[in-house]
């Protein structure tokens, strides 16, 4: 077989085939036969394919899939951000409601939520967690009634003692 020959044998064969009329005729005959078969077959082909509609349907499906992925991704990102914010606010709320902090830094405890405008938001988030029953699942303490956390800070603030409280 030609393919199993070494480079030298192949070169020798090609040199021989170039000058040997019998081999040349043989190669030509092979080429002619095969090319004629291809040409005749191609001329006889009448089948016409039409894939335009299917291709564009698949392109549309692909675009729709991508947009749904993007929409879903954005929705998940927004939900995660909200959840994270709620968790952070709850954590901050717990810190502010701790007696030691409220005692040591009453001014900060009272002013921070109000300054950030998160007081009502914090209450709303807590209410949402209560409704959803998340507070138990998260192991958070039960909601405190007014007067303990923000109520305490607000009362201190209202008395005007927050700025004058010495830090001992």
């Amino acid at each position: 077989m030609l393919g199993e020959a070494t480079e030298a044998e192949r070169a020798a064969y090609l040199a021989h085939a170039a000058t040997c009329p019998r081999c040349e005729v043989d190669l030509d005959a092979t080429r002619t036969l095969v090319c004629a078969a291809f040409t005749a077959s191609q001329h006889g082909e009448t089948w016409r394919a039409s894939v335009r509609d299917e291709v564009f349907a698949r392109i549309d499906r692909r675009s729709a899939t991508w947009s749904s992925w993007i929409t879903n991704g954005l929705a998940v990102a927004v939900a995660l951000t909200l959840a994270l914010n709620v968790a952070l606010l709850l954590g901050a709320g717990r810190s502010w409601s701790s007696p030691s902090l409220a005692t040591v830094l009453p001014a900060t405890a009272a002013a921070a939520p109000a300054a950030a405008g998160v007081g009502p938001g914090l209450d709303a988030a807590r209410a949402c967690l209560d409704v959803a029953g998340c507070r138990d699942r998260l192991g958070l303490p039960a909601p405190q009634r007014p007067g303990i956390a923000t109520g305490h800070a607000a009362a201190v603030s209202a008395l005007g003692v927050f700025a004058a409280t010495p830090l001992h």
Binding site: L2, T30, F38, T46, W47, V51, V55, I59
Partner: protein, 175 residues
Amino acid sequence: MIQHVHVLGLDRGLDAQARVERLVLEHQTKLARYVRRFVGDPDIALDLVQDVFLAAYRVLHADPARPLTAGWLYKAATNRSISYLRRHKRTGEVPTPADVAESFRLDERSAVSLDLQAALARLAPEQLTCIMLTAYAGYSSQEVSAILGISPEAVRQRVCRAMRAMRRSLEGPPA
């Protein structure tokens, strides 16, 4: 015969979808007939050709300035066809000559066409690829070497072997 490496990126002002539409309208039939010779089934050929155009869309969508050649389409079609054949040969799902004959329309079922199909079905994938790209799609050895990423000498060698094997098949057993 199919045009030689023809740059399909001259319509760069169009978006990916419009360019793909042009490609589809211009090449769908030639490409589908080409793939049908590989897989011997018109329905599978249509599926594979759809995949090729979808891949072309992805390429043009990612890089609208990219010029796409007809050679790219044939390379993609060839790769998909060969993958399909290998997958199905592994699982033993090889179409019988009767199935192959069924895959051609009645007016296409000439003896030479069916003999050619049978001869092609007996070739090794790499020989089949080279002979189809040269003898069927009309590319030169140089162009096929660029399309397949192999040397022109390797292309000529595979074509030569494929032709010898096909001659044996086409001439049939000696009387």
